[in-house]
Amino acid sequence: MSNRNLSITTPLDIGRDPRLLNARLKRQDSTEPILTKQARPGEMLIRAFLLFCGLLSVFTTIGIVVVLGSESLLFFNSGVATLTEFFTATRWQPQAGEFGIMPLLSATITTSIVAMFVALPLGLGAAIYLGEYARPNVRATLKPILEILAGIPTVVYGYFALTFMTPLLRGMFGQDTVQIYNNAAAGLVMGVMILPTIASMSEDALSAVPRSLREASYGLGATRFETITKVVLPAALSGIIAAFLLGVSRAVGETMIVALAAGAGPCVLGDTCFNPFAAGETMTGHIARISGGDLSYNSVDYNSLFSIGLTLFVFTLLLNLISRSVSKRFREVYQ
C-alpha cells in the first residue's frame, strides 16, 4: 500500500534511464502539457514527395493526351483529310495528300495477331509447365532463362527477324510467296519477345490459386490436367486475361522489330494489307521512320504523325476497357 502511494507522488524520472528523457520523451515533471501535437516536418516532406510520385504518372498521361489531341486537331482542321477519309481512304501517302490510317492499322493488327498466336499458347503452356508440372530444380533453371528473353533489346530481335526468321519463312513457303520484308517474320519474333511476359504473369496468376482448390479437385479423383483446365485456369482467368492484354499492348506498341523486319512503306488497302507474307508498315514503324527524317514542324506530314499517335492511344485504351469488362464477367472469384 505504502509502495503504491510512493510511486504516485514521486516523479517517475527516478528509475528511468536518463538517455530516454534526453532524447524525444518530454519530462514527466514538465509544467507544460506533455501530449500536445508536434510538428513533424520530415514526415510531411516525405508524404509530399510520395504524392508527387503518384501524381507524376497522372500528369504525364494527361500531358500526352493533350498534346496528341491538340496536334491531331490541327491536322484535321488543316483540311487535308476529314475524319471519314482518315478511316476509309485506302492509302497513306502524305506526298499525294492521302491520309488513310487503315493501311498502317492493318499492319499493326496483322503483326500483333501473328505475335499473339505465338505468345499466348506458348506463354500459357510455359506457365502451366513451370507452375504445375516442373519439379522445383527444373523450374529454378528454366525460369531465369525464360526471363533473359525479356531482357534482350528489341533491336536485336529485329535483326533476328530479318536475318533468321525471314530466310526461314522464304525457304519454307517459297521466295515468291514471302517478301523480303514481311509481317509474319516480324510478328513471329515479336511473339517470342512477348512470350516471357505472358508466361511470367500467367504463372503468377496460376500460383495465386489456393492449394485448397487443387486439393478439392484431386480429392474428387481429378487428374492433374483436369484440375488445371477445370479449376485452376478458370480461377486464374482474370490474371491470364491481364497478361494477354499486356502482351497485345506491347505488340501494338512495339516499334523496332516491325521497323526493321516488316517493311518501310504502307501497304495499299485491298491489295496486300492483312497478308502476313507481304510487307507492311505499322503505325509505330511509320512514326519512327518519318520522324527520323528531316521533317519540318507544323507541316501537314508532321501533324499527321500525331493523328497516328492518337489512333494508337485510343486503340490500346479500347483494348484495356474490353479486357476489363471481359475479365469481370468471366473470372471466378475465389476469395
Binding site: G219, L220, A222, V231, E332
Partner: protein
C-alpha cells in the same frame, strides 16, 4: 461383396516421411467398414498425415514418402501399379476449411460426376439433387442452384463440400477436422449428417474436439508425439499411434496412461 468386408482400409507398419524427416512411425490400424473412426491427439502428432495417406493426398506434397502398406480391397495403395486418381475416386476427402470451387452450387456437386464422363443433363440433375438432399442442404439451396458456392455460409459450404464428395459415391470419406472452422450449430448439423452417412459410407474423421469424437465415432485412435534429442538443441519429433479401441472403451477404460492423461485434458 462390400457388405461382408469387416475392414475398409488396413494400415500395416506405416511410416511417413516429409523429405528426410520422419513424421509418423509404425502405425498399424484397421478401419472398420461403415463405421465412424475418429483420430484424436495433440497438434503435430501426425493424425492428419495418416489420414492423407489413406487416399494418397500426400503425393501432392513434394518429398512426402510412405513406407509400409495401406491396404484397400486387398490392393496396396502404394503399390507400383496403383493409379492415385482411381484411389481418390473410391476414397474421397472433406477438408478442414470449406473449399468449394468458385463455381455455382450445381457445378460444384456435378464436378465429380462430370469427371467420370456423365454429360446427360437429366442424370446430372438427379445426382445433384440426391447429393444435396443427402447432405441436408437441398431445402436451403434448391431454388438457387446457380448461385456461387462461395455465397453460402461456412457451415453450408462445408455441407456443399460433403455433397460434392458423396456425388461420386466413394466407399470411404476422409474428413480432416471438418468442423474446426464452424460454429456450434453448423457443427451439430455436420455431426448429424455424419451419423446418416455412415449407414452407407465408411468415415474417418480427424478432430481436435474430444467431445466430438465421443459423440459421433464408433472407434477412436489416439496418436501422440515421441521426442528424441538428436544433438545439442536439436530435437527429433514424430507421431505414433498410442491406442486404438472402440470409442467407449478408449474414453472410459483407456489401457494406456498417456491416453488417460490426454482425455482428462492434462496435456495436448
Amino acid at each position: 461383396m462390400t457388405t461382408n468386408r469387416a475392414y475398409a482400409v488396413e494400415l500395416k507398419d506405416v511410416n511417413i516421411y516429409y523429405g528426410e524427416k520422419l513424421a509418423v512411425k509404425d502405425v498399424n490400424l484397421s478401419i472398420a467398414h461403415q463405421k465412424i473412426t475418429a483420430f484424436i491427439g495433440p497438434s503435430g502428432c501426425g493424425k492428419s498425415t495418416v489420414l492423407r495417406s489413406i487416399n494418397r493426398m500426400n503425393d501432392l506434397i513434394p518429398g512426402a514418402k510412405v513406407e509400409g502398406d495401406v491396404v484397400y480391397r486387398s490392393q496396396s495403395l502404394y503399390g507400383r501399379d496403383i493409379d492415385a486418381v482411381e484411389v481418390r475416386r473410391r476414397i474421397g476427402m472433406v477438408f478442414q476449411k470449406p473449399n468449394p470451387f468458385p463455381k455455382s452450387i450445381y457445378d460444384n456437386v456435378a464436378y465429380g460426376p462430370r469427371l467420370l464422363g456423365i454429360r446427360d443433363r437429366k442424370v446430372l440433375n438427379e445426382i445433384v439433387e440426391r447429393s444435396l438432399k443427402h447432405s441436408f442442404l437441398w431445402d436451403e439451396v434448391k431454388g438457387d442452384l446457380k448461385k456461387s458456392g462461395l455465397a453460402l455460409s461456412g457451415g453450408q459450404q462445408q455441407r456443399l463440400c460433403i455433397a460434392r464428395t458423396i456425388a461420386v459415391e466413394p466407399d470411404v470419406i476422409l474428413m480432416d477436422e471438418p468442423c474446426s472452422a464452424l460454429d456450434p450449430i453448423a457443427t451439430q448439423a455436420i455431426e448429424d449428417l455424419m451419423k446418416e452417412l455412415v449407414k452407407q459410407y465408411t468415415i474417418v474423421i480427424v478432430t481436435h474436439n474430444m467431445q466430438q469424437a465421443q459423440r459421433v465415432s464408433d472407434y477412436t485412435a489416439f496418436y501422440s508425439i515421441r521426442k528424441e534429442v538428436e544433438t545439442e538443441g536439436k530435437e527429433k519429433r514424430w507421431g505414433v499411434l498410442v491406442e486404438y479401441a472402440p470409442t467407449e472403451t478408449l474414453f472410459n477404460q483407456p489401457s494406456h496412461e498417456e491416453t488417460e492423461r490426454y482425455i482428462r485434458g492434462e496435456f495436448g
